[in-house]
C-alpha cells in the first residue's frame, strides 16, 4: 500500500516536472527570441564609438569621464542608451571583430614560425572561444554570487570579448618586434583589469541602492577579477603549438 502511494506520489511529481519542463522550454524559447530581438541594440555603433571604445579599452586611465551607463526613459521603463549615444554601453561589434583579428594575427604568427596549417588555426579558434567562455562564466558567476541575477548575458559576453582587442594589439607588436611582447602584454593585462573592474563595479552595483558599505567581499571579488586577467591573457597569447 505504501509503495503504491509512493508510486502515485512519484508519478504526480513526474507529471508536474513534465509540465514545468515544457513550459520551461517555452520560456527558454521566449528568452532566446528576446535575446535576439535585443541583439540589434548591441550593433548600433558608428566609427566614432568604435574609436572611442578602443581608446577606452587600451588606455583606460585617460578616460576623464564617468563609467556609468546613461539611461533614458523609454515607454515608462528605464533603459540604457544605445552604444551610439553612450561610450560606456557595451556592444558586440568590437568584441567580434577583435576576436577575428586575434585569430588572423595568430595565423600570421604560426606562419612566421613555419607551423601554419588550417587545422592549427581552427584549434586556436577553439582556444579563443574557450577563453571567452571562461571569462564570461567567471564574470557571470561573480555577479550571481553578489546577488545580481539580472545582469544580461549579452552584456557580460561583450565585456568578456573586449579582452581580445588588447590581445590583438599584443600579438601585433610581437610580430613587429619580438622583445616587446611581454612588456606590452603586462601593460595590456593591467589596462584590461582596470577596465573590467570599473565596468563590473557599475554592473554589480546597478541593482543595489546601498553604496555605503563596500564590504570586504566586494573588494576581494574585484581583486580576483583583476588578477584573473593575467593568466587568461598569457594563455591566449601563448601561440606556440
Amino acid at each position: 500500500m505504501q509503495s503504491m502511494m509512493q508510486d502515485l506520489g512519484s508519478s504526480k511529481v513526474a507529471w508536474r516536472h513534465m509540465r514545468r519542463g515544457s513550459w520551461g522550454q517555452v520560456q527558454s524559447l521566449c528568452k532566446i527570441s528576446s535575446y535576439f530581438s535585443n541583439l540589434q541594440y548591441y550593433f548600433q555603433v558608428n566609427n566614432k564609438y568604435v574609436r572611442s571604445k578602443l581608446k577606452l579599452i587600451l588606455l583606460p586611465f585617460l578616460h576623464r569621464g564617468h563609467w556609468t551607463r546613461m539611461s533614458e526613459p523609454v515607454g515608462g521603463r528605464l533603459s540604457y542608451k544605445p552604444p551610439i549615444d553612450d561610450i560606456n554601453a557595451p556592444d558586440l561589434y568590437v568584441p567580434f571583430m577583435a576576436f577575428v583579428t586575434y585569430i588572423i594575427l595568430s595565423g600570421f604568427t604560426f606562419g612566421l614560425l613555419g607551423k601554419f596549417s588550417p587545422e592549427a588555426l581552427s584549434l586556436q579558434f577553439t582556444r579563443g572561444l574557450a577563453g571567452w567562455f571562461l571569462q564570461v562564466m567567471m564574470l557571470k558567476g561573480l555577479s550571481y554570487s553578489l546577488g545580481n541575477k539580472d545582469a544580461p548575458i549579452l552584456d557580460i559576453v561583450a565585456y568578456g570579448g573586449y579582452a581580445f582587442a588588447g590581445l590583438s594589439v599584443a600579438i601585433l607588436t610581437k610580430l613587429v618586434w619580438n622583445y616587446s611582447y611581454y612588456f606590452i602584454l603586462l601593460w595590456l593585462c593591467f589596462c584590461m583589469s582596470v577596465f573590467l573592474v570599473n565596468t563590473m563595479k557599475r554592473v554589480l552595483f546597478a541593482e543595489m541602492r546601498v553604496y555605503s558599505n563596500h564590504s570586504n567581499r566586494h573588494h576581494y571579488i574585484f581583486i580576483f577579477i583583476a588578477i584573473a586577467q593575467f593568466p587568461l591573457f598569457f594563455w591566449l597569447g601563448h601561440l606556440k603549438a
Binding site: Q40, V45, N46, Y93, V100, I104, F116, P118
Partner: protein, 253 residues
C-alpha cells in the same frame, strides 16, 4: 498521349515479313534527307506501327533487340530541337559571368549594376581556380576553401544585417555571390605567388595590394547593392578586410 514521330522507318532485311518500323535511335533532325522516304502524315499512318515514346508506355513490338531508349522525355520529346541549351537551362549565363569578371578586374571604378542579380557559378569557377593554383603550390585546400568561404559569407551577412538595422536587406545568396566574385584578386594572387619566393618582403607587399583590392571592391558592392550600408562603410570595410586577409593566409603560408 501518343506522339507520332516522323523518322524514316527501319526495314530489317530479315525474315520478318512485316516491316517493323522501329525508330530505335533518336534523330537530331527529323527532316527526311533520304529521297525515297516520305514521312507519313500522322493521319495516314496505317500500316507502319510507330513507337510512341510515352512515359510508362511499353515498347510494342519486341522483335528488335536494340537498346530501348529510356523514355524519360517527359512528353516534350518531339520538341527536342526547341529545348534550351544546357548552360541556359542550368542558369549559367556565361556572358554575364564574363562581364562581372571584367568589372572586378578594374579596381578603380566599380559598376554595381552588373552585380544586381547574384549567381553562384562565377564564384564556383573562381574557387576551383583558387584551389587549382593552391594545388600547383603543393597544398590541397579545396575543402578548406569551400568551408572558409561559407563561414566568411555567413559572417559578413550577419555583420552587415546587424549593422544596417531594421532595413538591412542583404540576403545570404547575394552575400555569397559577392564574396565569391571578389575572390578574383585572391585567385590572381595565388597564381602570381607561384613564381615569387615565399620568404621575402615581396610576397607580403603583394598580399597587401591584392587584399586591399578585394576589400575595396567588396565594400563598394556591398554598400551599393544592399540598403543602409552607407553610414557604416568603414565598419563593413574592416570586416571585408578581415575575410580576405584570412584567405591571403592560405596563399602565403
Amino acid at each position: 498521349m501518343a506522339k507520332e514521330f516522323n523518322v524514316p522507318p527501319v526495314v530489317f532485311p530479315t525474315s520478318s515479313s512485316t516491316p517493323a518500323a522501329v525508330p530505335h535511335q533518336r534523330r537530331a533532325t527529323p527532316a527526311p534527307s533520304a529521297p525515297p522516304f516520305q514521312p507519313p502524315r500522322p493521319a495516314t499512318s496505317t500500316a507502319l506501327p510507330f513507337m510512341s515514346f510515352d512515359i510508362g508506355a511499353a515498347p510494342a513490338p519486341s522483335s528488335f533487340s536494340a537498346p530501348s531508349f529510356p523514355s524519360a522525355a517527359s512528353g516534350s520529346f518531339s520538341s527536342f530541337d526547341e529545348e534550351p541549351p544546357l548552360l541556359e537551362e542550368l542558369g549559367i549565363n556565361t556572358r554575364q559571368i564574363w562581364l562581372k569578371t571584367t568589372s572586378i578586374l578594374n579596381p578603380i571604378r566599380v559598376n554595381p549594376n552588373i552585380h544586381e542579380d547574384a549567381d553562384l557559378s562565377g564564384p564556383f569557377i573562381f574557387l576551383m581556380a583558387f584551389g587549382l593554383f593552391q594545388l600547383l603550390a603543393g597544398k590541397f585546400h579545396f575543402g578548406i576553401i569551400l568551408g572558409w568561404v561559407t563561414v566568411a559569407s555567413l559572417f559578413l551577412y550577419v555583420v552587415f544585417n546587424m549593422l544596417a538595422g531594421r532595413n538591412g536587406n542583404l540576403d545570404l545568396y547575394r552575400c555569397l555571390s559577392l564574396v565569391g566574385y571578389c575572390m578574383l584578386p585572391m585567385v590572381i594572387f595565388s597564381a602570381v605567388s607561384l613564381f615569387v619566393p615565399h620568404d621575402g618582403v615581396v610576397i607580403f607587399a603583394m598580399a597587401a595590394v591584392f587584399v586591399l583590392w578585394s576589400t575595396r571592391i567588396c565594400t563598394r558592392l556591398l554598400v551599393e547593392l544592399a540598403s543602409c550600408g552607407e553610414e557604416h562603410r568603414g565598419l563593413i570595410a574592416y570586416a571585408c578586410w578581415l575575410v580576405y586577409l584570412l584567405f591571403s593566409l592560405l596563399v602565403i603560408f
